[in-house]
Amino acid sequence: MNRDATSNGVNPEGRLHPISIAVREIADTFSRMGFGIAYGPELEDDWHNFTALNVPEDHPARDMQDTFWVRDPERGRSPSGDSGDKIKGNQGKVLRTHATSVTMRKLEDMAKSGATEMRMINPGKVFRNEATDMTHEAQFYQVDGLAVGPTGSVTLAHLKGTFDTFYREYFGPNTKVRFRPSFFGFTEPSVEIDVWFEVPGKEGRWLEMCGAGMLHPNVIRNAGLDPEKAQGFAFGGGLERLLMVKYGIPDIRLFYSGDIRFNYAFEEKKV
């Protein structure tokens, strides 16, 4: 008597989280354009998250309402009764507000090693101290990155070419990319990258996807490089938003719910 009618005897496979699936896709496209992958700490010092990136001392981004700061051990003990002294090394640290902090670390690596060019993407979790709702999470993923080379070798035109390719591969061949003026402390000029995205059966629309620009000379200098010799672009955009647009996911909070129904909310096919 066969009591195993519903299974062919093979142990079913599990499922990757959609973020992992997206990062693999993005990493692959960028690898074909010469980008490696870089990692950096999530608990970051003020230098790499703010100061080195040309965010001035009194910038609103440094305020408590935007950034998670680590509690000053002088002023309190942790609930487990540990002496605050043990975490003294973390004083003044923040949960990184962008993965551009990794870009900063990679620029410093360049200065140390004497390298004259570098291309990296830094996919990683970042944190913002803001109320959560369907489109805002206090923790989310960003894909930041940089391309740097000798002066004149990496330009805003290359930034455009890179993102033209990336968005076409990610969203499909009808995708278009446009730049709008913007402002970030660490880039000059700065642009906002919009993507023209067509959902089958719906009208196409422009969506703001990523902030980018040419690395500010102060940032290059802060890394220990010479802005007369090194030039490049940097970019950073939310990862969940890419997926939300591509797959029609309505609520960003689904990503970090730890709910396996999210993994199974998509038809999945191995490529």
Partner: protein, 615 residues
């Protein structure tokens, strides 16, 4: 910044294009438009331009450059008058780092009343409320050229102690701890030392929160006849911190925190005095100007080659020169080098790249050709990433499901100074707790998403923050005997790894992670579900299965979410049995047992009527 097209039109002789086109002009060459409503545009002025563009004049000037149409008149380019001087007003600045300039004027004999129609309409066209001619005049000039202004009732300020000659005195000083002020809107604020106040100096009484809001004490009312007008410049950081401490953000504080040039104060004073005397009458008795340090404006140069080598463009000398002309920037051209001496209000033009940006955005970034980066000499390094993904792929193959959970925790070694959720004040030191939690929920929802014989097993890769320092942890809800740190024994053996110290580069070097295509997101209900099993004898035919499934669909009352075939066998007599698990769930509400029992009764009855014997 809300602007009205009609107001902007004052700056041009030629009629402006329609709102749609003006909106596009700003969007692709300067600033995003947050909202459009008839004649009104809400322009999202970028932080580096907030010093000059939180004004109709600044935005009109941008438009002139973008659309390449003549800017008919620039109030900031017109010469300043000689203001009358006298000793009827004195001004004393305590700290010139916090108040960069203070101009005060005395105007006598005004008649406060309603504003003329044009002014009322202008104020209301950008969503503000008309109050009276004097207050509206100060607001109008601020919205027009960006200089915050304030009017006090001079008769409410104290006379000097005995022997004075009727001169009023304004002081600008740090508030005293515990000092109180009642603002124009009748709110009382208790102050601290890092908030700056304007005082009636003879009485040493605060009459305004510097750069933020006026006080009740010297409020202009319908009975006011004599005014003290303030056109000042307060330090950006001081103003922002004060506004934040008081939770009082105003049009004035927003402007000061963006550091407009103190030069602007004189233009604001000129315009507001002209407007007040025009619409409220009166006579300007004197203007006092305390200006401890005038800022220097430095010129900045950029060669054409630099512009093109940053943008990757091929702009000509003539194109670049034309941009600076359109922007109205004083430019010296020597061969291919452009040297710009910014007008005082363009505080953002400091380094050559700032000029590169002006050329790029005014000509348009659509003129920058997308160009592929040539491949670098060395192959990109993604080996560490591939190593981590290889581990994930192994786990997927073994039936593990990857989850991602919150980094905040109830307890941990690192505490946040400002947690979002007071119950989660720490950073997680392990993935274990979240994973345990996720597993409990996974077991509960397993019937909804997993095959009947699939055991929920989870893993997560994520950063943890023990006091020894953060690292990337891999944690599984089941043992994977081949993995884990050598020291792991007991319960948790082979269930976690430290990927930050694991040598993953070689492991990942030649590995290609599995790739997946996902379909569109299928929403799932967050309400509880109810399962019921039903099994039956059927005649020996494949047809029966289809009939039964159709029947379920018809009788499921819209709440039957899933049907799983869980068992099927044929007995010795050749009779076939099918067993199904039915899962009921609503997208709108929590189902009750009674409701589901009712549906099951219908299903049983329908099965019986088809001749199937429910077991």
């Amino acid at each position: 910044m809300k602007v009205s097209l009609k107001w902007l039109q004052n700056y041009f002789e030629k009629p402006l294009p329609n709102a749609e086109m003006v909106s596009d002009a700003y969007t692709f060459h300067a600033f995003e438009i947050d909202e459009m409503q008839g004649d009104m545009l809400d322009v999202k002025v970028l932080p580096n331009r907030a010093a000059d563009c939180l004004s109709h004049r600044g935005l009109a000037k941008e438009l002139a450059a973008i659309l390449n149409i003549p800017f008919a008149k620039d109030p900031l380019a017109e010469a300043l008058p000689d203001f009358p001087n006298s000793n009827k007003l004195s001004v004393e600045i305590e700290d010139s780092r916090k108040c960069l300039r203070y101009m005060g004027a005395v105007v006598r004999g005004v008649k406060v009343g309603p504003s003329p129609v044009w002014l009322k309409e202008a104020i209301e066209s950008v969503g503000q409320r008309s109050i009276n001619n004097v207050v509206d005049a100060t607001n109008y000039v601020m919205l027009n050229i960006g200089q915050p202004l304030h009017a006090f009732d001079a008769s409410k300020l104290s006379n000097p102690p005995a022997g004075g000659d009727g001169a009023v005195a304004i002081g600008i000083r740090n508030a005293k701890r515990g000092e109180k002020i009642t603002t124009l809107s009748n709110e009382v604020y208790e102050l601290s030392e890092n908030i700056v106040v304007i005082t009636d100096a003879h009485a040493d009484a605060p009459i305004a929160l510097a750069g933020i809001k006026g006080g009740k004490l010297a409020e202009v009312t319908m009975d006011t006849t004599d005014l003290v007008i303030e056109s000042a410049n307060f330090d950006g950081t001081t103003t922002r911190r004060a506004a934040q401490a008081l939770k009082l953000f105003t049009d004035a504080s927003l402007r000061f925190q963006n550091r407009p040039s103190p030069e602007l104060a004189a233009y604001g004073m000129r315009d507001v005095l002209a407007l007040i005397t025009l619409i409220a009458g009166g006579e300007v008795e004197c203007v006092v100007d305390e200006y401890p340090a005038r800022p220097q404006v430095a010129s900045v140069s950029v060669p054409l080659a630099r512009i093109n080598s940053v943008l990757g463009s091929d702009f000509s000398h003539a194109q670049a020169a034309d941009v600076f002309r359109r922007l109205g920037l004083e430019t010296r051209i020597e061969r291919d080098v452009f040297t710009v001496t910014p007008s005082f209000e363009r505080t953002d033009l400091i380094i050559p790249e700032d000029l590169v940006e002006e050329v790029g955005r005014i000509l348009g970034y659509d003129q920058v050709p997308p160009t592929a980066l040539p491949m670098p000499a060395t192959a990109p390094d993604q080996s560490r990433f591939h190593g981590i993904e290889r581990m994930k792929d192994q786990l997927i193959e073994q039936g593990f499901i990857e989850v991602s959970t919150q980094s905040f925790a109830k307890k941990g070694d690192i505490l946040l100074a400002n947690p979002l959720d007071k119950n989660m004040p720490a950073l997680r030191i392990t993935l274990e707790d979240n994973l345990k939690d996720a597993l409990t929920r996974a077991k509960y929802v397993a019937p909804l998403v997993l095959a009947p014989n699939q055991k929920p097993k989870l893993f997560e890769v994520g950063t943890v923050f023990p006091k020894e320092g953060e690292f990337i942890e891999l944690r599984m809800t089941e043992r994977v005997p081949e993995w884990g740190l050598p020291a792991q024994t007991g319960e948790s053996a082979n269930t976690f790894d430290n990927l930050s110290i694991a040598k993953l580069e070689d492991y990942g070097k030649d590995y290609v992670p599995v790739r997946y295509d996902l379909g569109v997101y299928q929403p799932f209900s967050l309400y509880p579900f109810i399962t019921r099993d039903v099994s039956m004898w059927i005649s020996n035919s494949d047809e029966a299965r289809g009939v039964v499934l159709r029947l379920f669909a018809e009788r499921g009352s819209g709440i039957l979410r899933q049907v799983q075939l869980v068992d099927q066998f044929t007995n010795k007599e050749g009779r076939q049995s099918l067993a199904f698990r039915l899962i009921f769930q609503s997208f709108e509400r929590t189902l009750t047992d009674e409701e589901v029992n009712g549906v099951m009764e219908h299903i049983h009855a329908a099965l019986a009527s088809k001749g199937y014997e429910v077991r």
